[in-house]
Amino acid sequence: MIYQNATPRDLGLARIVIFGLLLARLLMDPVEQLADFPVGAFAPHGLLNLIPSDAMQWLLTSNRLLAFKWSYAVVLSLCILGLGPRFHIMLVAVLGAIFYDGLTRGFGGHVNHQELIVTQCAILMLFFPCYNGLAVNRLAHFSEAAATPVMLAACRLGLRAVCFWIALTYFYIGVARLQASGIKLYFTNTMVLNAFQHSLRAGYWNLGLGRNLPNEPWLQVFLSISFPLATALEIAAPLAVFVRKLTIPLVFCLLFFHVMIFLFMNLLFWQNMVLLSLLVLGAARRGSAYFFPVDSSVPD
Protein backbone atom coordinates (compact mmCIF):
# COMPACT_ATOMS: atom_id res chain seq x y z
CA MET A 1 0.00 0.00 0.00
CA ILE A 2 1.01 3.59 -0.40
CA TYR A 3 2.12 5.67 2.59
CA GLN A 4 3.57 2.69 4.46
CA ASN A 5 5.80 4.90 6.55
CA ALA A 6 3.63 8.00 6.73
CA THR A 7 4.39 10.52 9.44
CA PRO A 8 2.47 13.55 10.73
CA ARG A 9 4.50 15.63 8.30
CA ASP A 10 3.06 13.71 5.34
CA LEU A 11 -0.44 14.38 6.59
CA GLY A 12 0.57 18.03 7.10
CA LEU A 13 1.74 18.19 3.50
CA ALA A 14 -1.59 16.74 2.31
CA ARG A 15 -3.36 19.40 4.38
CA ILE A 16 -1.33 22.14 2.70
CA VAL A 17 -2.09 20.74 -0.79
CA ILE A 18 -5.85 20.39 -0.16
CA PHE A 19 -6.44 23.69 1.60
CA GLY A 20 -3.99 25.37 -0.79
CA LEU A 21 -6.20 24.23 -3.67
CA LEU A 22 -9.28 25.63 -1.93
CA LEU A 23 -7.49 28.96 -1.44
CA ALA A 24 -6.16 29.08 -5.01
CA ARG A 25 -9.59 28.53 -6.56
CA LEU A 26 -11.15 31.11 -4.22
CA LEU A 27 -8.58 33.76 -5.10
CA MET A 28 -9.10 33.14 -8.83
CA ASP A 29 -12.85 33.48 -8.56
CA PRO A 30 -14.49 36.92 -8.49
CA VAL A 31 -17.30 35.50 -6.36
CA GLU A 32 -18.71 38.95 -5.57
CA GLN A 33 -19.87 39.20 -9.19
CA LEU A 34 -22.58 36.67 -8.39
CA ALA A 35 -24.48 39.58 -6.86
CA ASP A 36 -25.13 40.76 -10.44
CA PHE A 37 -27.78 38.03 -10.63
CA PRO A 38 -31.21 38.74 -9.18
CA VAL A 39 -31.91 36.80 -5.99
CA GLY A 40 -34.50 34.77 -7.91
CA ALA A 41 -31.68 33.21 -9.93
CA PHE A 42 -30.39 31.46 -6.82
CA ALA A 43 -31.75 27.99 -5.97
CA PRO A 44 -30.27 26.51 -2.75
CA HIS A 45 -29.24 22.85 -2.75
CA GLY A 46 -28.61 20.28 -0.03
CA LEU A 47 -27.18 21.79 3.16
CA LEU A 48 -27.74 25.33 1.87
CA ASN A 49 -31.46 24.77 2.30
CA LEU A 50 -30.80 25.05 6.03
CA ILE A 51 -29.93 28.74 5.65
CA PRO A 52 -33.09 30.86 5.98
CA SER A 53 -33.95 32.53 2.68
CA ASP A 54 -33.96 35.99 4.31
CA ALA A 55 -30.43 35.45 5.57
CA MET A 56 -29.38 34.20 2.14
CA GLN A 57 -30.88 37.25 0.44
CA TRP A 58 -29.07 39.50 2.94
CA LEU A 59 -25.79 37.78 2.06
CA LEU A 60 -26.14 37.98 -1.70
CA THR A 61 -24.79 41.49 -2.21
CA SER A 62 -21.46 42.32 -3.75
CA ASN A 63 -19.90 43.73 -0.55
CA ARG A 64 -21.05 40.87 1.66
CA LEU A 65 -19.85 38.25 -0.81
CA LEU A 66 -16.51 40.07 -0.92
CA ALA A 67 -16.41 40.07 2.90
CA PHE A 68 -17.16 36.32 2.83
CA LYS A 69 -14.41 35.76 0.28
CA TRP A 70 -11.69 37.45 2.33
CA SER A 71 -12.81 36.04 5.67
CA TYR A 72 -12.87 32.58 4.14
CA ALA A 73 -9.43 33.20 2.61
CA VAL A 74 -8.09 34.03 6.10
CA VAL A 75 -9.56 30.81 7.53
CA LEU A 76 -8.05 28.77 4.69
CA SER A 77 -4.69 30.44 5.27
CA LEU A 78 -4.85 29.40 8.94
CA CYS A 79 -5.49 25.81 7.81
CA ILE A 80 -2.54 25.94 5.41
CA LEU A 81 -0.28 27.34 8.11
CA GLY A 82 -1.60 24.91 10.71
CA LEU A 83 -2.39 27.69 13.14
CA GLY A 84 -5.07 27.87 15.80
CA PRO A 85 -7.42 25.26 17.26
CA ARG A 86 -7.40 22.58 14.55
CA PHE A 87 -10.90 21.17 14.66
CA HIS A 88 -12.69 24.51 14.97
CA ILE A 89 -10.66 26.26 12.27
CA MET A 90 -11.00 23.31 9.90
CA LEU A 91 -14.71 22.97 10.58
CA VAL A 92 -15.22 26.64 9.65
CA ALA A 93 -13.08 26.08 6.53
CA VAL A 94 -15.14 23.05 5.50
CA LEU A 95 -18.42 24.89 6.09
CA GLY A 96 -16.99 27.80 4.07
CA ALA A 97 -16.10 25.40 1.24
CA ILE A 98 -19.61 23.92 1.27
CA PHE A 99 -21.15 27.40 1.24
CA TYR A 100 -18.84 28.52 -1.55
CA ASP A 101 -19.60 25.46 -3.68
CA GLY A 102 -23.26 25.94 -2.79
CA LEU A 103 -23.17 29.46 -4.22
CA THR A 104 -21.82 28.11 -7.49
CA ARG A 105 -24.37 25.34 -7.50
CA GLY A 106 -27.23 27.61 -6.49
CA PHE A 107 -26.53 30.08 -9.29
CA GLY A 108 -25.13 27.68 -11.85
CA GLY A 109 -27.13 24.53 -11.26
CA HIS A 110 -24.19 22.21 -10.87
CA VAL A 111 -20.72 22.28 -9.40
CA ASN A 112 -17.83 21.17 -11.45
CA HIS A 113 -16.86 17.83 -9.94
CA GLN A 114 -13.21 18.74 -9.71
CA GLU A 115 -14.19 21.42 -7.22
CA LEU A 116 -16.40 19.08 -5.19
CA ILE A 117 -13.59 16.56 -4.88
CA VAL A 118 -11.37 19.13 -3.11
CA THR A 119 -14.19 20.06 -0.72
CA GLN A 120 -14.76 16.38 0.02
CA CYS A 121 -11.03 15.82 0.66
CA ALA A 122 -11.16 18.78 3.09
CA ILE A 123 -14.12 17.13 4.87
CA LEU A 124 -12.05 13.95 5.27
CA MET A 125 -9.07 15.89 6.62
CA LEU A 126 -11.31 17.20 9.38
CA PHE A 127 -11.32 13.74 10.97
CA PHE A 128 -7.54 13.29 11.16
CA PRO A 129 -4.82 14.96 13.25
CA CYS A 130 -3.28 16.91 10.40
CA TYR A 131 -1.85 19.78 12.49
CA ASN A 132 0.92 17.63 13.93
CA GLY A 133 3.33 18.15 11.10
CA LEU A 134 4.31 21.15 8.97
CA ALA A 135 2.18 23.40 11.15
CA VAL A 136 2.90 26.67 12.92
CA ASN A 137 1.18 25.18 15.98
CA ARG A 138 4.07 22.73 16.21
CA LEU A 139 6.64 25.51 16.49
CA ALA A 140 5.49 26.11 20.04
CA HIS A 141 6.32 22.51 20.97
CA PHE A 142 9.82 21.17 20.95
CA SER A 143 9.00 17.68 22.10
CA GLU A 144 11.43 15.09 20.79
CA ALA A 145 9.21 12.18 21.76
CA ALA A 146 8.55 9.62 19.02
CA ALA A 147 5.13 9.53 17.39
CA THR A 148 2.79 7.15 19.15
CA PRO A 149 1.51 4.08 17.27
CA VAL A 150 -2.02 5.51 17.34
CA MET A 151 -0.85 8.80 15.85
CA LEU A 152 1.06 7.02 13.09
CA ALA A 153 -1.94 4.79 12.39
CA ALA A 154 -4.14 7.90 12.11
CA CYS A 155 -1.64 9.51 9.71
CA ARG A 156 -1.49 6.45 7.48
CA LEU A 157 -5.23 6.00 7.55
CA GLY A 158 -5.89 9.70 6.87
CA LEU A 159 -3.60 9.80 3.87
CA ARG A 160 -4.92 6.51 2.51
CA ALA A 161 -8.53 7.61 3.04
CA VAL A 162 -7.94 10.82 1.07
CA CYS A 163 -6.10 8.97 -1.73
CA PHE A 164 -8.76 6.25 -1.75
CA TRP A 165 -11.45 8.92 -2.10
CA ILE A 166 -9.61 10.56 -5.02
CA ALA A 167 -9.32 7.18 -6.76
CA LEU A 168 -12.85 6.20 -5.78
CA THR A 169 -14.38 9.10 -7.70
CA TYR A 170 -12.97 7.59 -10.90
CA PHE A 171 -14.27 4.15 -9.88
CA TYR A 172 -17.75 5.61 -9.30
CA ILE A 173 -17.74 7.10 -12.80
CA GLY A 174 -16.65 3.83 -14.41
CA VAL A 175 -19.27 1.79 -12.55
CA ALA A 176 -22.02 4.33 -13.30
CA ARG A 177 -21.18 4.22 -17.00
CA LEU A 178 -21.23 0.43 -17.16
CA GLN A 179 -24.46 0.29 -15.17
CA ALA A 180 -26.21 2.87 -17.35
CA SER A 181 -24.93 1.82 -20.72
CA GLY A 182 -23.49 -1.66 -20.58
CA ILE A 183 -20.90 -2.88 -23.05
CA LYS A 184 -22.80 -1.82 -26.17
CA LEU A 185 -21.86 1.81 -25.52
CA TYR A 186 -18.33 1.01 -26.66
CA PHE A 187 -19.52 -0.09 -30.10
CA THR A 188 -21.10 3.28 -30.85
CA ASN A 189 -19.76 6.74 -31.64
CA THR A 190 -20.92 8.16 -28.29
CA MET A 191 -17.46 9.39 -27.30
CA VAL A 192 -16.93 11.06 -30.66
CA LEU A 193 -20.30 12.81 -30.36
CA ASN A 194 -19.56 13.95 -26.83
CA ALA A 195 -16.13 15.27 -27.76
CA PHE A 196 -17.56 17.07 -30.80
CA GLN A 197 -20.36 18.59 -28.72
CA HIS A 198 -18.08 19.78 -25.91
CA SER A 199 -15.56 21.26 -28.31
CA LEU A 200 -18.30 23.37 -29.91
CA ARG A 201 -19.81 24.64 -26.67
CA ALA A 202 -18.92 28.07 -25.37
CA GLY A 203 -16.68 27.62 -22.35
CA TYR A 204 -13.62 29.35 -20.98
CA TRP A 205 -11.10 27.39 -23.00
CA ASN A 206 -11.26 27.21 -26.74
CA LEU A 207 -8.71 24.66 -27.96
CA GLY A 208 -11.01 23.20 -30.56
CA LEU A 209 -9.15 19.93 -31.24
CA GLY A 210 -12.49 18.15 -31.33
CA ARG A 211 -14.09 20.63 -33.73
CA ASN A 212 -12.80 18.93 -36.79
CA LEU A 213 -13.69 15.45 -35.58
CA PRO A 214 -16.25 14.67 -38.33
CA ASN A 215 -13.49 15.10 -40.91
CA GLU A 216 -10.74 13.26 -39.02
CA PRO A 217 -11.43 9.51 -39.17
CA TRP A 218 -8.19 8.61 -37.39
CA LEU A 219 -9.13 10.88 -34.47
CA GLN A 220 -12.54 9.18 -34.31
CA VAL A 221 -10.85 5.77 -34.18
CA PHE A 222 -8.50 7.02 -31.48
CA LEU A 223 -11.42 8.25 -29.35
CA SER A 224 -13.49 5.13 -29.93
CA ILE A 225 -10.59 2.91 -28.82
CA SER A 226 -9.68 5.06 -25.86
CA PHE A 227 -13.24 5.14 -24.49
CA PRO A 228 -13.30 1.53 -23.17
CA LEU A 229 -9.68 1.90 -22.08
CA ALA A 230 -10.62 5.02 -20.11
CA THR A 231 -13.48 3.15 -18.41
CA ALA A 232 -11.10 0.29 -17.52
CA LEU A 233 -8.66 2.86 -16.14
CA GLU A 234 -11.40 4.46 -14.03
CA ILE A 235 -12.42 1.13 -12.57
CA ALA A 236 -8.80 0.20 -11.89
CA ALA A 237 -8.00 3.56 -10.23
CA PRO A 238 -8.36 2.32 -6.59
CA LEU A 239 -5.53 -0.15 -7.27
CA ALA A 240 -3.23 2.89 -7.24
CA VAL A 241 -3.80 3.04 -3.47
CA PHE A 242 -3.45 -0.65 -2.70
CA VAL A 243 -0.71 -1.81 -5.10
CA ARG A 244 2.21 0.56 -4.87
CA LYS A 245 3.86 -0.75 -8.02
CA LEU A 246 0.79 0.32 -9.98
CA THR A 247 0.51 3.80 -8.48
CA ILE A 248 2.85 5.64 -10.82
CA PRO A 249 1.60 3.94 -14.05
CA LEU A 250 -2.06 4.49 -13.09
CA VAL A 251 -1.50 8.12 -12.08
CA PHE A 252 0.43 8.72 -15.29
CA CYS A 253 -2.48 7.24 -17.31
CA LEU A 254 -5.02 9.36 -15.38
CA LEU A 255 -2.97 12.50 -16.05
CA PHE A 256 -2.81 11.60 -19.76
CA PHE A 257 -6.58 11.02 -19.65
CA HIS A 258 -7.14 14.53 -18.20
CA VAL A 259 -4.86 16.09 -20.82
CA MET A 260 -6.88 14.38 -23.58
CA ILE A 261 -10.15 15.63 -22.06
CA PHE A 262 -8.70 19.13 -22.02
CA LEU A 263 -7.54 18.94 -25.63
CA PHE A 264 -10.73 17.39 -27.01
CA MET A 265 -13.40 18.84 -24.74
CA ASN A 266 -11.99 22.11 -23.41
CA LEU A 267 -12.43 20.85 -19.82
CA LEU A 268 -9.33 21.31 -17.68
CA PHE A 269 -9.42 19.22 -14.50
CA TRP A 270 -6.41 20.93 -12.92
CA GLN A 271 -7.55 20.31 -9.36
CA ASN A 272 -7.76 16.54 -9.96
CA MET A 273 -4.31 16.66 -11.52
CA VAL A 274 -2.85 18.38 -8.44
CA LEU A 275 -4.63 15.96 -6.07
CA LEU A 276 -3.19 12.97 -7.95
CA SER A 277 0.24 14.16 -6.77
CA LEU A 278 -0.75 12.92 -3.30
CA LEU A 279 -0.83 9.36 -4.64
CA VAL A 280 2.58 9.81 -6.23
CA LEU A 281 3.97 11.10 -2.92
CA GLY A 282 2.44 8.08 -1.21
CA ALA A 283 4.15 5.70 -3.62
CA ALA A 284 7.46 7.42 -2.96
CA ARG A 285 6.91 7.21 0.81
CA ARG A 286 8.62 4.03 1.92
CA GLY A 287 11.69 3.08 3.88
CA SER A 288 13.30 6.06 5.54
CA ALA A 289 11.91 9.59 5.44
CA TYR A 290 12.13 10.96 1.90
CA PHE A 291 12.50 14.65 2.41
CA PHE A 292 11.16 15.40 5.85
CA PRO A 293 12.61 13.92 9.00
CA VAL A 294 10.28 11.77 11.08
CA ASP A 295 8.12 14.02 13.16
CA SER A 296 7.33 13.79 16.85
CA SER A 297 3.80 13.50 18.12
CA VAL A 298 1.91 16.16 19.95
CA PRO A 299 -1.69 15.67 21.02
CA ASP A 300 -3.96 17.42 18.54
Binding site: Q33, G46, H113, Q120, Q179, A180, T188, R201
Partner: protein
Protein backbone atom coordinates in the same frame (compact mmCIF):
# COMPACT_ATOMS: atom_id res chain seq x y z
CA UNK B 1 -40.89 11.60 -11.42
CA UNK B 2 -38.19 9.01 -11.19
CA UNK B 3 -39.21 5.62 -12.45
CA UNK B 4 -38.93 2.68 -10.06
CA UNK B 5 -36.87 0.86 -12.66
CA UNK B 6 -34.38 3.72 -12.64
CA UNK B 7 -34.11 3.60 -8.85
CA UNK B 8 -33.59 -0.15 -8.98
CA UNK B 9 -31.03 0.05 -11.79
CA UNK B 10 -28.98 2.73 -10.12
CA UNK B 11 -29.12 1.02 -6.73
CA UNK B 12 -27.32 -1.93 -8.33
CA UNK B 13 -24.22 0.26 -8.30
CA UNK B 14 -24.10 -0.21 -4.53
CA UNK B 15 -22.95 -3.79 -5.12
CA UNK B 16 -19.53 -3.12 -6.69
CA UNK B 17 -18.99 -0.06 -4.51
CA UNK B 18 -19.59 -1.89 -1.25
CA UNK B 19 -17.57 -4.88 -2.45
CA UNK B 20 -14.69 -2.48 -3.03
CA UNK B 21 -15.23 -0.96 0.43
CA UNK B 22 -15.18 -4.45 1.98
CA UNK B 23 -11.99 -5.36 0.10
CA UNK B 24 -10.37 -2.12 1.22
CA UNK B 25 -11.34 -2.73 4.84
CA UNK B 26 -10.15 -6.32 4.71
CA UNK B 27 -6.67 -5.20 3.72
CA UNK B 28 -4.59 -6.09 6.79
CA UNK B 29 -2.87 -2.69 6.99
CA UNK B 30 -6.14 -0.76 6.74
CA UNK B 31 -7.89 -2.94 9.29
CA UNK B 32 -4.97 -2.74 11.70
CA UNK B 33 -4.74 1.07 11.47
CA UNK B 34 -8.49 1.48 11.65
CA UNK B 35 -8.79 -0.62 14.79
CA UNK B 36 -5.77 1.10 16.33
CA UNK B 37 -7.12 4.56 15.59
CA UNK B 38 -10.54 3.48 16.82
CA UNK B 39 -9.17 2.86 20.30
CA UNK B 40 -8.59 6.59 20.87
CA UNK B 41 -10.43 8.39 18.08
CA UNK B 42 -13.74 6.60 17.99
CA UNK B 43 -15.72 9.59 16.68
CA UNK B 44 -13.24 10.20 13.88
CA UNK B 45 -13.41 6.55 12.85
CA UNK B 46 -17.21 6.68 12.81
CA UNK B 47 -17.11 9.93 10.80
CA UNK B 48 -14.86 8.34 8.16
CA UNK B 49 -17.21 5.36 7.82
CA UNK B 50 -20.18 7.76 7.56
CA UNK B 51 -18.40 9.80 4.89
CA UNK B 52 -17.90 6.80 2.61
CA UNK B 53 -21.41 5.48 3.31
CA UNK B 54 -23.10 8.80 2.47
CA UNK B 55 -20.90 9.16 -0.61
CA UNK B 56 -22.03 5.75 -1.89
CA UNK B 57 -25.69 6.52 -1.18
CA UNK B 58 -25.41 9.87 -2.95
CA UNK B 59 -23.82 8.08 -5.88
CA UNK B 60 -26.65 5.56 -6.17
CA UNK B 61 -29.69 7.65 -5.24
CA UNK B 62 -29.11 10.94 -7.02
CA UNK B 63 -31.07 11.14 -10.23
CA UNK B 64 -31.11 13.43 -13.29
CA UNK B 65 -27.85 15.08 -12.31
CA UNK B 66 -27.97 17.89 -14.87
CA UNK B 67 -31.51 19.04 -14.10
CA UNK B 68 -31.88 22.65 -13.02
CA UNK B 69 -33.28 23.61 -10.57
CA UNK B 70 -33.25 20.45 -8.45
CA UNK B 71 -35.41 19.79 -5.44
CA UNK B 72 -33.49 17.04 -3.65
CA UNK B 73 -29.89 16.11 -3.56
CA UNK B 74 -27.10 15.11 -1.18
CA UNK B 75 -24.99 18.23 -1.71
CA UNK B 76 -22.06 18.49 -0.88
CA UNK B 77 -22.11 14.90 -2.10
CA UNK B 78 -23.08 14.23 -5.68
CA UNK B 79 -23.39 11.53 -8.28
CA UNK B 80 -20.28 10.93 -10.37
CA UNK B 81 -21.39 9.83 -13.82
CA UNK B 82 -19.88 11.26 -16.95
CA UNK B 83 -20.65 10.10 -20.47
CA UNK B 84 -23.08 7.45 -19.26
CA UNK B 85 -25.83 7.15 -21.84
CA UNK B 86 -28.95 5.47 -20.43
CA UNK B 87 -29.76 3.60 -23.63
CA UNK B 88 -26.27 2.50 -24.39
CA UNK B 89 -25.76 5.05 -27.13
CA UNK B 90 -26.75 8.50 -28.21
CA UNK B 91 -29.87 7.86 -30.23
CA UNK B 92 -29.82 11.29 -31.83
CA UNK B 93 -26.90 12.30 -34.08
CA UNK B 94 -27.97 15.92 -33.75
CA UNK B 95 -26.06 18.16 -31.35
CA UNK B 96 -27.84 21.10 -29.78
CA UNK B 97 -25.76 24.12 -28.93
CA UNK B 98 -27.08 27.12 -27.05
CA UNK B 99 -25.69 30.58 -27.75
CA UNK B 100 -26.50 33.83 -26.02
CA UNK B 101 -26.71 36.89 -28.18
CA UNK B 102 -26.66 40.45 -26.90
CA UNK B 103 -27.72 43.54 -28.86
CA UNK B 104 -26.21 46.80 -27.67
CA UNK B 105 -28.00 50.19 -27.66
CA UNK B 106 -26.17 51.16 -30.86
CA UNK B 107 -27.33 47.99 -32.64
CA UNK B 108 -24.14 45.93 -32.41
CA UNK B 109 -24.36 42.19 -31.90
CA UNK B 110 -22.20 40.60 -29.18
CA UNK B 111 -21.68 36.95 -28.23
CA UNK B 112 -22.27 36.50 -24.50
CA UNK B 113 -20.13 33.69 -23.10
CA UNK B 114 -21.10 33.18 -19.42
CA UNK B 115 -17.88 31.28 -18.68
CA UNK B 116 -15.87 34.29 -19.84
CA UNK B 117 -18.12 36.91 -18.29
CA UNK B 118 -18.30 35.45 -14.81
CA UNK B 119 -16.21 32.72 -13.40
CA UNK B 120 -12.65 31.58 -13.04
CA UNK B 121 -11.14 29.60 -15.93
CA UNK B 122 -12.38 26.28 -14.58
CA UNK B 123 -15.89 26.92 -13.37
CA UNK B 124 -18.12 25.70 -16.13
CA UNK B 125 -21.36 25.72 -14.23
CA UNK B 126 -22.99 28.60 -16.06
CA UNK B 127 -22.64 27.12 -19.48
CA UNK B 128 -24.03 23.85 -18.16
CA UNK B 129 -26.93 25.90 -16.83
CA UNK B 130 -27.37 27.46 -20.27
CA UNK B 131 -27.69 23.98 -21.73
CA UNK B 132 -30.03 22.69 -18.98
CA UNK B 133 -32.33 25.71 -19.16
CA UNK B 134 -32.11 25.89 -22.94
CA UNK B 135 -33.14 22.24 -23.27
CA UNK B 136 -36.10 22.57 -20.91
CA UNK B 137 -37.24 25.97 -22.23
CA UNK B 138 -37.06 24.68 -25.76
CA UNK B 139 -38.24 21.09 -25.53
CA UNK B 140 -39.56 20.51 -22.01
CA UNK B 141 -43.12 20.04 -20.77
CA UNK B 142 -45.28 23.22 -20.72
CA UNK B 143 -44.78 23.49 -16.97
CA UNK B 144 -41.02 23.13 -17.25
CA UNK B 145 -40.94 25.59 -20.13
CA UNK B 146 -42.62 28.31 -18.08
CA UNK B 147 -40.31 27.70 -15.12
CA UNK B 148 -37.20 27.65 -17.30
CA UNK B 149 -38.25 30.82 -19.13
CA UNK B 150 -38.57 32.63 -15.79
CA UNK B 151 -35.15 31.37 -14.65
CA UNK B 152 -33.60 32.27 -17.98
CA UNK B 153 -34.84 35.85 -17.64
CA UNK B 154 -33.14 36.11 -14.23
CA UNK B 155 -30.04 34.62 -15.75
CA UNK B 156 -30.06 37.07 -18.66
CA UNK B 157 -30.47 39.96 -16.26
CA UNK B 158 -27.27 38.88 -14.49
CA UNK B 159 -25.43 38.54 -17.81
CA UNK B 160 -26.59 42.04 -18.82
CA UNK B 161 -25.29 43.56 -15.58
CA UNK B 162 -21.94 41.78 -15.83
CA UNK B 163 -21.50 42.68 -19.50
CA UNK B 164 -22.21 46.33 -18.83
CA UNK B 165 -19.88 46.36 -15.81
CA UNK B 166 -17.05 44.88 -17.87
CA UNK B 167 -17.76 47.04 -20.96
CA UNK B 168 -18.15 50.60 -19.64
CA UNK B 169 -20.35 52.79 -21.81
CA UNK B 170 -22.07 49.87 -23.56
CA UNK B 171 -25.67 48.94 -22.79
CA UNK B 172 -27.59 45.87 -23.82
CA UNK B 173 -31.14 46.41 -25.01
CA UNK B 174 -31.82 42.79 -25.90
CA UNK B 175 -30.56 39.35 -25.01
CA UNK B 176 -31.65 36.25 -26.90
CA UNK B 177 -30.97 32.57 -26.37
CA UNK B 178 -30.51 30.68 -29.63
CA UNK B 179 -30.42 26.98 -30.28
CA UNK B 180 -28.06 25.78 -33.00
CA UNK B 181 -28.40 22.26 -34.42
CA UNK B 182 -25.33 20.56 -35.81
CA UNK B 183 -25.44 17.12 -37.40
CA UNK B 184 -22.57 14.78 -36.65
CA UNK B 185 -21.65 13.56 -40.11
CA UNK B 186 -18.56 13.66 -42.26
CA UNK B 187 -17.64 16.94 -43.94
CA UNK B 188 -19.96 18.90 -41.66
CA UNK B 189 -18.87 22.45 -40.94
CA UNK B 190 -20.50 23.90 -37.81
CA UNK B 191 -22.44 27.02 -38.67
CA UNK B 192 -21.87 30.35 -37.03
CA UNK B 193 -24.27 31.21 -34.19
CA UNK B 194 -27.46 33.28 -34.74
CA UNK B 195 -27.43 32.74 -38.54
CA UNK B 196 -29.04 30.33 -40.96
CA UNK B 197 -31.87 27.85 -40.61
CA UNK B 198 -29.87 25.79 -38.05
CA UNK B 199 -30.21 28.59 -35.51
CA UNK B 200 -33.57 29.10 -33.82
CA UNK B 201 -34.37 31.76 -31.27
CA UNK B 202 -35.61 30.11 -28.05
CA UNK B 203 -36.21 33.07 -25.78
CA UNK B 204 -35.46 36.75 -25.75
CA UNK B 205 -35.63 39.53 -23.21
CA UNK B 206 -35.75 43.22 -24.06
CA UNK B 207 -34.59 46.07 -21.87
CA UNK B 208 -35.33 49.80 -22.09
CA UNK B 209 -32.72 51.95 -23.80
CA UNK B 210 -30.85 53.93 -21.13
Amino acid sequence: MIALAEIFRQSLELGPIWVLYALAFCHPEVRRDFLLMGTQMRLSSAAVVSFFTVASLAQCFTFNIYDYPRQHDFFPFARWAMFAEPNGQKSDPRIYLYDLQGITADGCEVYLNPARLFFSPNAISLFSKTVALGDSADRGTPERRAQSARLLRYYMEGLKKRFEASHPGEHLVKIALWRRTVMMKSSVVPTVPFRGPESVSVLQAEYPTP
